[in-house]
């Protein structure tokens, strides 16, 4: 088993791929980091200035968490969507696909850099930028927004959600030849709309007699009021079903996307 696995995954070769992925794009990464740092410092200063003009001397408590969430999700999805662009371009694709490493190693390298790598990197980077921006605010205005706390449970929770959602964009990156971000976003919207439509149609069929025009009233179903009351208090079967579905969704989405993405990478022809 070990020698067979070694053929498709060698730690030394994987490490070299990681190094290549990071070193190959370091210039654009530095440019992007400088742009983000400048934007954060400017927006933070403008926010504090606005607060001061309004006569207050208390900065925003959630300012940096909100801004970091944008950097994590929007920035991460865009970076992820560009991950496999090189495999789809003519000369670049030939170079990348004939690079001596297995598809598993190539996929795992992109996955690691755009998921955990991006999340950790962005936390460290943002903590430093937020500290610098708040230092500047305090020097100029005498007060500032709350510092960014990378160990805040909301940050850790956001990273968890990012790791799941990011897998969909990684699949989009390997799936689409061009404009992967927009196409993945569009596909997600289409799927969400489709699911909502099917759910509404199913509801309409199953509970047809409870529909009054476009509205639905389930209160005359025996036991529904009690179930609804329990759910509003955070217990009961509806809450359990919701929890199970959430766990299945969160735990299942990423592995399914990774597996399909890996298969797709194996199939790319240039």
């Amino acid at each position: 088993m070990a020698p067979a696995f070694n053929k498709v995954f060698k730690p030394r070769r994987f490490g070299q791929l990681l190094l290549r992925d990071l070193a190959g794009g370091y210039r654009s990464m530095l440019v992007a980091m400088a742009a983000v740092a400048g934007t954060v410092i400017m927006i933070s200063a403008l926010t504090v200035l606005g607060t001061k003009v309004a006569g207050s001397r208390t900065g925003a408590w959630s300012f940096h968490f909100n801004l970091y969430s944008n950097l994590l999700f929007l920035g991460g999805f865009i970076v992820t969507s560009l991950a496999f662009r090189e495999a789809r371009q003519n000369g670049n694709g030939i170079f990348y696909l004939t690079l001596p490493a297995s598809s598993l190693e190539k996929f795992a390298s992109k996955l690691l850099t755009t998921s955990v790598g991006y999340a950790l990197g962005s936390v460290v980077f943002y903590t430093a930028v937020a500290a610098a921006s708040e230092g500047i605010n305090r020097l100029i205005f005498g007060f500032g927004n709350a510092f960014f706390n990378p160990f805040d449970t909301r940050v850790l929770e956001a990273i968890g959600y990012y790791l799941v959602a990011q897998s969909v964009f990684l699949l989009g990156s390997v799936w689409w030849r061009k404009t992967a971000f927009l196409k993945t976003w569009g596909s997600l919207m289409a799927v969400a709309f489709g699911v909502a439509l099917v759910a509404w149609a199913a509801l309409r069929i199953v509970f047809a007699q409870h529909f009054h025009g476009w509205g639905i009233d389930l209160s005359d179903i025996p036991g529904f009021s009690e179930l609804s009351r329990q759910a509003s208090l955070g217990y009961g079967p509806l809450v359990t079903i919701g929890r199970v579905l959430r766990i299945v969704f969160l735990a299942g989405t990423a592995p399914v996307c990774w597996f399909i993405g890996w298969l797709r990478l194996r199939e790319i022809e240039v």
Partner: protein
């Protein structure tokens, strides 16, 4: 090293190969010739797993190329006509990419860079097309992969570089290596590529060594257009006609690549008969 049996491949609107057979052995620098659109580049892509056969079999060093196994790729180097180089310096390129090739030889790489007069301080993306190509050729030769695939290697090279390339390739190639060069620039490859493979209409229509071609065909320049039955091919040229005839037994002639190619394309059946049917691909 390369075994292709009954392979079929085509694009959406064009069938390219149908029942293609090809067997290639190490220790040779094969020349792959064909008209535009004959499928030379596609064949190279099929051999290194960038395109997948639609039927038949293609095996390279025992691997199925479409699996793109790392074990196969570390012994295959394709220098494509569509060049890509990352925007980094040559030294960083070597640091990032050489470890993927277990037999990479730093000394050979440095030697070729010097020979090709590559400015090592310049970023690869800032180099001219010819310089990029020379850099990748130097890297490909230093990688010492058992299979080296070159697609139009002399396109974009200046006159001294073409000669340097020929010398470097002839010097670097070892007995366990197979080099397959796809080219239209037959004059650049004269005395380098041997045997010759000619692709046409989805098949290998000629696969012979230059020695064999020189034994079986004779080329002469004649003032008048010949009309005798012994003529395999004739073509008007400056000051007369290039005439190709079946050679008398045992006679040794010199056949240039361009004339050989034109003869094979124009008189396929006749050439096949002269080469005893073997001209349509060894083992086909």
């Amino acid at each position: 090293m390369i075994e292709i049996k009954e392979m079929a491949f085509g694009y959406k609107r064009q069938k390219l190969f149908d029942g293609l057979d090809l067997f290639l052995e190490p220790g040779n620098i094969y020349g792959l010739l064909g008209k535009n659109g004959a499928g030379k580049t596609t064949l190279l892509k099929l051999i290194c797993g960038l395109r997948f056969p639609q039927a038949g079999e293609c095996r390279v060093m025992g691997y199925q190329p479409q699996n793109r196994a790392a074990g196969m790729l570390e012994d295959v180097c394709l220098i494509s006509e569509e060049l890509y180089v990352p925007p980094i310096a040559p030294a960083l390129f070597e640091r990032l990419y050489a470890p993927f090739y277990p037999r990479f030889d730093h000394g050979v790489f440095v030697e070729h860079l010097r020979e090709f007069e590559i400015d090592a301080s310049k970023k690869l993306s800032e180099m001219s097309y010819g310089q990029k190509k020379k850099f990748l050729l130097a890297f490909g030769l230093a990688a010492r992969t058992r299979l080296l695939l070159l697609d139009e290697p002399t396109n974009g090279l200046d006159i001294p570089s073409k000669s340097q390339f020929r010398k470097a390739l002839a010097r670097s190639t070892t007995g366990d290596q197979l080099v397959l060069i796809s080219t239209h620039q037959v004059r650049d490859m004269e005395n380098l590529i041997d045997p010759i493979i000619i692709l046409d209409e989805g098949k290998v229509i000629f696969q012979e060594s230059m020695d064999e071609a020189a034994k079986r065909l004779s080329v002469s320049i004649e003032r008048e257009q010949p009309t005798d039955a012994g003529v395999v091919f004739s073509d008007k040229t400056l000051g007369g006609y290039v005439v190709v005839r079946e050679s008398a037994a045992g006679a040794e002639n010199r056949v240039d690549l361009e004339t050989l190619f034109n003869t094979v394309i124009a008189s396929r059946e006749r050439v096949r008969a002269i080469f005893g049917g073997g001209a349509a691909g060894k083992g086909a």
